[in-house]
């Protein structure tokens, strides 16, 4: 295998690492921050289920990103992923909530602009609409679950200590589901741009043959897992402060809502079932894990009288929505110009 391929893949792996470092906190942040679940337990579960989600259900969202811009040249994919990673990094440094999904979409459009490829407007509209739908849907699910929780907790009299044990168990299960959904939904952000180029030769292990795409899914999953293990602890410990004070039960509901939404936007099975029953389908699009969680928290806060909403955080999120894709798009455009004209690499 050409070692240059690994250098080109490194930007995607860097993006995967950043995703693992930041978004694992959306899944297990409150559980670890409130000491309901140990960080080590969270990291193990998170890593395993992110990789499983990426391998088993990562295909759907990857296909949608591919439709937005099929980057066939490896240097082009490298710069696209690097631009997204740089946008994520700089936004995180500026303290703005960031979405890898938005960054990669912006970067792909940057590649389209540079290479003169038309951007598929129907796919773009589909993706843009999910950026609004995702937090709203997450808020609606959270409100419904919260009301159901209140209704049942008034009627089922479980001892506080036993309820605490159930909540811990539920946080772990919801975290596992959340990690699976994160892997399934967001793996496309990490390695989606490399897939059309098929950079890796088939790998034979025993009787199994792994295609380039399968290897990329695994590599992307491992990069996310590495991000979880090396950097997520700090983010998990502070996630509570970012979102405001949440009770363990409210946090659990926020994580479940986030996981359901991410799963809905990644599940081919659900899409097939909806289509089979003549219902409108949910687009398979990588959505923002952070925005799903924030949507759920805002939903619960509104239900409790909106006093707990931190409007400054909400304002930053709106800024992030606009700035992230534009920054990634501009970086990608100029980065590609640089690669093509300074290094003489074929980027399209």
């Amino acid at each position: 295998m050409d070692p240059l391929i690994l250098i080109f893949l490194s930007s995607g792996l860097f993006l995967g690492w950043a995703l693992g470092a930041n978004d694992a906190a959306n899944v297990f942040g409150t559980a670890v921050g409130t000491k309901m679940v140990r960080w080590r337990t969270a990291a193990i579960i998170c890593s395993i289920f992110i990789i499983l989600g990426a391998l088993i259900s990562g295909g759907g969202t990857t296909h949608t990103l591919g439709k937005l811009g099929a980057i066939s040249a490896l240097p082009g994919a490298f710069m696209t992923a690097l631009s997204a990673a740089l946008a994520v990094y700089s936004m995180t440094k500026s303290g703005l909530p960031v979405s890898t999904s938005q960054a990669i979409v912006g970067a792909i459009i940057g590649w389209n602009l540079f290479s003169g490829n038309p951007t598929d407007t129907s796919t773009l509209t589909k993706i843009l609409s999910t950026w609004i739908i995702c937090p709203v849907l997450s808020a609606i699910i959270a409100v419904t679950l919260f009301k159901m929780h209140k209704f049942t907790s008034k009627r089922i009299k479980i001892h506080m200590i036993m309820a605490d044990a159930y909540t811990r168990l539920a946080l772990i299960i919801a975290g596992a589901l959340g990690a699976y959904s994160l892997g399934a939904n967001n793996i496309a952000n990490v390695i989606g741009v490399f897939i059309p180029g098929e950079p890796l030769p088939d790998l034979q292990v025993g009787t199994f043959i792994f295609s380039s795409t399968q290897q990329l899914f695994l590599l992307g999953g491992l990069a996310i897992a590495l991000g979880v293990w090396t950097y997520s602890k700090r983010v998990m410990m502070t996630v509570g402060n970012n979102l405001g004070r949440l009770s363990a039960n409210a946090a659990l509901i926020a994580v479940i809502s986030h996981s359901i939404v991410l799963f809905m936007f990644a599940s081919r099975g659900l899409e097939a079932w909806l289509a089979g029953n003549g219902l409108p389908t949910i687009p398979l699009v990588p959505v923002s894990s952070s925005q799903a969680v924030v949507g759920a928290v805002v939903g619960i806060s509104i239900l409790q009288g909106a006093a707990g909403i931190r409007w400054s955080v909400l304002g930053k999120i709106v800024v992030g929505w606009v700035v992230t894709p534009i920054a990634a798009c501009a970086t990608c455009f100029f980065g590609l110009f640089f690669l093509q004209n300074v290094f003489g690499l074929v980027v399209q």
Binding site: M160, I161, A248
Partner: protein, 216 residues
């Protein structure tokens, strides 16, 4: 992790229930002991009741320490841990008050004239009712916080009633021909018994806030 967590959880749940059992039992023993003193003075049976309440108080102390240790070492109920510890410590003070009040009777052996016996009996009944209702409120806090306000309301009613009885009793004592020293001695005992209801009300006030925090 799962099975071990649930086994330890069950044990802790039993200890908390056991702690409130001690409060309920203490209030029954206290009532019997004071009524016995009012009826027969310092008898062997009274000393047995006093020993029983000592044992209950020290068992409750052991339970309190064990509960506190487990809550912290197993990092359980992080949201409510401080509230639970506060609750258990103040309930423990209430049990100490039962014990202290009986010790005072045993040591100081106040002479309670017949005309005040009924007042003391009524006061004791009322403070014990407040403590009993508080035990129910404490149990409700752990299982159904929505029921706490109803129990607390009763604690407040009993406390007010106990205050009214104690005021009436003190007025009667100071209007009597007793020596000032006797009057002051009797007043101390009225206040000592009444302070059980006051403490119960303080704990109920805390519980009201803790319950709201659990419900929201």
């Amino acid at each position: 992790m799962g099975l071990n967590l649930f086994r330890r959880t069950k044990q802790l749940e039993q200890q908390i229930d056991g702690f409130f059992d001690k409060l309920s039992e203490s209030s029954v023993v206290y009532r019997l002991a004071v009524r016995l003193y009012l009826r027969e003075g310092l008898t062997e049976e009274f000393q047995e009741r006093l020993e029983r309440i000592n044992t209950l108080e020290s068992e409750a102390d052991d339970l309190r320490r064990s509960i506190e240790k487990q809550l912290y070492s197993d990092t359980l109920i992080p949201d409510s841990r401080g509230d639970v510890l506060g609750l258990i410590e103040t309930v423990d003070q209430l049990m100490s008050q039962f014990e202290g009040s009986l010790w005072a009777l045993s040591i100081e052996k106040p002479n309670i004239p017949d005309e005040y016996v009924n007042g003391f009996r009524k006061l004791t009944n009322m403070v014990v009712k407040a403590a009993d209702e508080l035990a129910l409120s404490g149990r409700a806090f752990f299982r159904s916080p929505y029921d706490v306000p109803a129990h607390n309301h009763k604690v407040m009613l009993y406390e007010k009633e106990a205050d009214a009885i104690s005021t009436k009793l003190k007025t009667e004592i100071f209007a009597s021909d007793l020596e000032l020293a006797e009057k002051l001695h009797l007043r101390d005992f009225v206040e000592q018994i009444d302070s059980v209801a006051d403490l119960a009300e303080d704990v109920a006030d805390r519980l009201a806030i803790y319950a709201i925090k659990r419900i929201v």
